[in-house]
Structure formats: structure tokens, C-alpha cells
Symmetry: C2
Subunit: 229 residues, 2 copies
């Protein structure tokens, strides 16, 4: 019998790639997505397409209301920054940072893993392109894993069984895309944009789009996604 893995699936480029990666490592996939009041709810539709494409065992969408706190351009009425170069994004913690988002997402993944009896969680965090997000750093993931193994029945009854896999953490965007293409990811159905239009088409100029387009451009190939005209 295959081992079960919980995969945090936003439907974006990174999480779609780790889903393919986990399948390639011969896991049965239990994907989890979140509706958290984000502007870019089209990513939920993308996550469904990606989950179908890869024939996951189960795909759950948890509804959690992060708007109750406000505090981020992704959930509150704050403008998403547009037209910034990579250099301008560097170093600072951006306004698109959602307070404690990965901590909350991983906590739901942990609950899911415990219920289905999985010891493996995959998350597409990246310390290169998101150097401004504290909860994308290796030392954070390591501390989370340690905490998680003290938090659950299975962590107590077995000894530290849970692993949080972050196969993208040290990769550049172009390397992630390269990996995904080799693993059969169809990037035309993934949704990356922080601020898509009413049809779900990406803007091409928010930080997330800029990083994605640069990644494809470095590989000398065209992004198969359709952008706003």
C-alpha cells in the first residue's frame, strides 16, 4: 500500500509542482485548499483542476475566515502592489503577507494528516523568491515540524513520525518550473496572480506574476497561462 501524503494546494505554480513531486515519490495524495477570504479566489478553481489532473485520492477545501483580522492586502481592502521589479521586492516583508498564514495552513494540514493517518505533509514554501516572508524560511519549517510532533496522538505514540517536506525551498522560480515540466505539470491551469480580473485572468504585474513570468523567461519558454489583454 502506498503511503499517504497531505499536500497544501493553492492551485498556484509552486503548490502544483509539489503535488506532482509527491506523486512522483509514490505517495497517495490528500490535497487541502483554503478559502480564506482571499481576493484571488480563482485559485480555488485552479486547485480543483490541478487535483483532477493528477487524480488525487481526496481534495478538501477548508473555509477559514482570515478577514476577521484584516491586516493584509490579500484579505483586506488594501491595494496589491503592482509593477515592482524583483529588486524592489527584495528583503522587506510585503503587504501581501497574511499574518500567520502558513502557520494556520500547516495546522489544518496537521489535523488532516492525523485524521487520515499520514506522516507526510508537503508544502511549496520557497525561501528564495519569498525572502521577505518569515514563514517561508527553513528554520521556521524545522521549528514547526518539532512542534507538530509534540502536538498529536501519532507524534506521541510513535516517535517523531511527521515530516514536513519542502522540496522547493531552495529553488529559483525557473528551477521550480523546470522540475514541474519534467513531472507533467500543466501550468496553463495554475493560478498565481494576487489580483486577477473578473474572468480569473492574471494581471501580469503583481509581485507574484512578475516572479512567475521571469521564471518562464529565464527558461526561454512562454508561460502557457492566458493573461489579461
Amino acid at each position: 500500500m502506498k503511503k499517504k501524503a497531505v499536500v497544501l494546494l493553492s492551485g498556484g505554480l509552486d503548490s502544483s509542482t509539489i503535488l506532482a513531486y509527491a506523486i512522483n515519490k509514490e505517495f497517495d495524495i490528500y490535497a487541502i485548499s483554503f478559502f480564506y477570504g482571499q481576493r484571488h479566489k480563482f485559485e480555488l478553481e485552479a486547485s480543483k483542476k490541478v487535483a483532477q489532473h493528477f487524480k488525487v485520492k481526496d481534495h478538501k477545501t477548508a473555509h477559514i475566515d482570515l478577514r476577521v483580522f484584516g491586516g493584509s492586502a490579500l484579505t483586506a481592502e488594501i491595494d496589491v502592489p503592482k509593477g515592482r521589479t524583483e529588486a524592489e521586492m527584495d528583503g522587506e516583508i510585503p503587504i501581501t503577507y497574511v499574518p500567520a498564514r502558513n502557520t494556520i495552513f500547516l495546522s489544518f494540514a496537521l489535523a488532516y494528516a492525523e485524521v487520515i493517518g499520514s506522516d507526510d505533509i508537503f508544502i511549496g514554501v520557497n525561501a528564495v523568491d519569498y525572502s521577505g516572508y518569515p514563514d517561508c524560511r527553513p528554520e521556521y519549517i524545522e521549528a514547526y515540524e518539532k512542534m507538530a510532533n509534540l502536538a498529536t496522538k501519532s507524534g506521541v505514540e510513535n516517535e517523531n513520525p511527521l515530516t514536513i517536506h519542502t522540496p522547493l525551498i531552495d529553488l529559483k522560480k525557473s528551477e521550480i518550473i523546470n522540475m514541474g515540466l519534467e513531472l507533467g505539470v500543466d501550468y496553463s491551469i495554475t493560478s498565481t496572480c494576487y489580483d486577477p480580473d473578473e474572468y480569473g485572468l492574471p494581471c501580469g504585474i503583481c509581485d507574484s506574476c512578475v516572479l512567475r513570468l521571469k521564471g518562464f523567461s529565464e527558461l526561454g519558454i512562454e508561460d502557457p497561462a492566458e493573461y489579461q489583454p
Copy 2:
């Protein structure tokens, strides 16, 4: 100006006591409660009464759907154990355990703390009466605090500012009640029962009621709450 504290408030005996404790330590209180598909949703009404009684600065209720996973008698269609003695509860992880619940609750508290600029979270975990819950142990809380300080902007920009306060962790139920009575807690408005009736009246025989009643009985005083006839 007073410091701000986030208090996890279920409306039960323990969390109402820590709310009073945090006020006594001269914090301004930002309480957070959760609707998570629990059977005992009367505790949310209790949490409102307790928050009002203590005139908190703000009280948020986050809606999160833990039923999406099932796996616990508190959220799924599994019977709540009744009529067990304390000895029978001892040691094992009970079916009322909600997978990763404290991890999820603390993650929301962390987000709330980051948004309002608080470095202090109070949670009423107890390692004595809930010895079967992995996420009520001191080593778990310690690991959570370490992780939390790596997860957030303020943890990165300042150095480890966040403290998770667990003033009840080593106390017996009777000691908690004693502390709460000294701090002005009105236990008649708190709601502890895992399985109250349609009027919100506690059953008196679930694990949670049994521990509560024993606590009052050890102090030689009557529980001011009204029970099912």
C-alpha cells in the same frame, strides 16, 4: 498604556479563569473564540457573557470548519463518553480529542496578536486534568512558542518577543476554581459541558462535567451553574 493580550476564550471554566488572570496582570484583553462545528455551541454564548462581564477591549469569533476532517466526538457523529470516573479517563487520549485543535486555535491567536501588535497570548491548557491530550503538555507549548517566534514579522524584527502564557498548566481543577473565585469569575455563566441539552444546560456526566463538579466538591462549595434536571 496597557499591554495587549490575546486570550483564547471558549467560555468554559478554564478559559474564563485565565481571562480574569490576564486582566489581573493589567493587560488589555482581546479575546478570541471559535465556532468549529462543535456540538457544544452554547459555549459561544457563554464566551460572549464572560467577555462582557470582564469588559474586554474586543472579542472576535472565528468560524473554522473542523468538521471537514471529522475524527472527534466533539465534531463528528461519535457519542460523547458519559459517566466515567476520573480514573477511567486517565492516561489515554480520549475520543473527545479534536485533532490538532490547540495548534489551530493558537495559530489564529498568533495571527490576531500580530495584527493588533500583541506579544502575549493566554491559553487555559491544563496538563493535570487533560493528561491524555498531547497538545496540553508544557513541552508542546514551549515548542509552539519557539515556532511562533520564527513565524511572524514581529518575531523576526524584534527578538523572540512572543510569550504563550499557561497559568493553569500545573493546577488541579479545584485550584483553578479557587483562583477564579478570587479574581471575580462568575462560574454560573461559564459553559463546560461536551454535550449540553437544547437549552444549553450541562449534562453533569461527561468527562468535562465530572472534572468540574469534582473541583467544586473538593472545595466544599456548590457549582453555581444550573444542570439538566
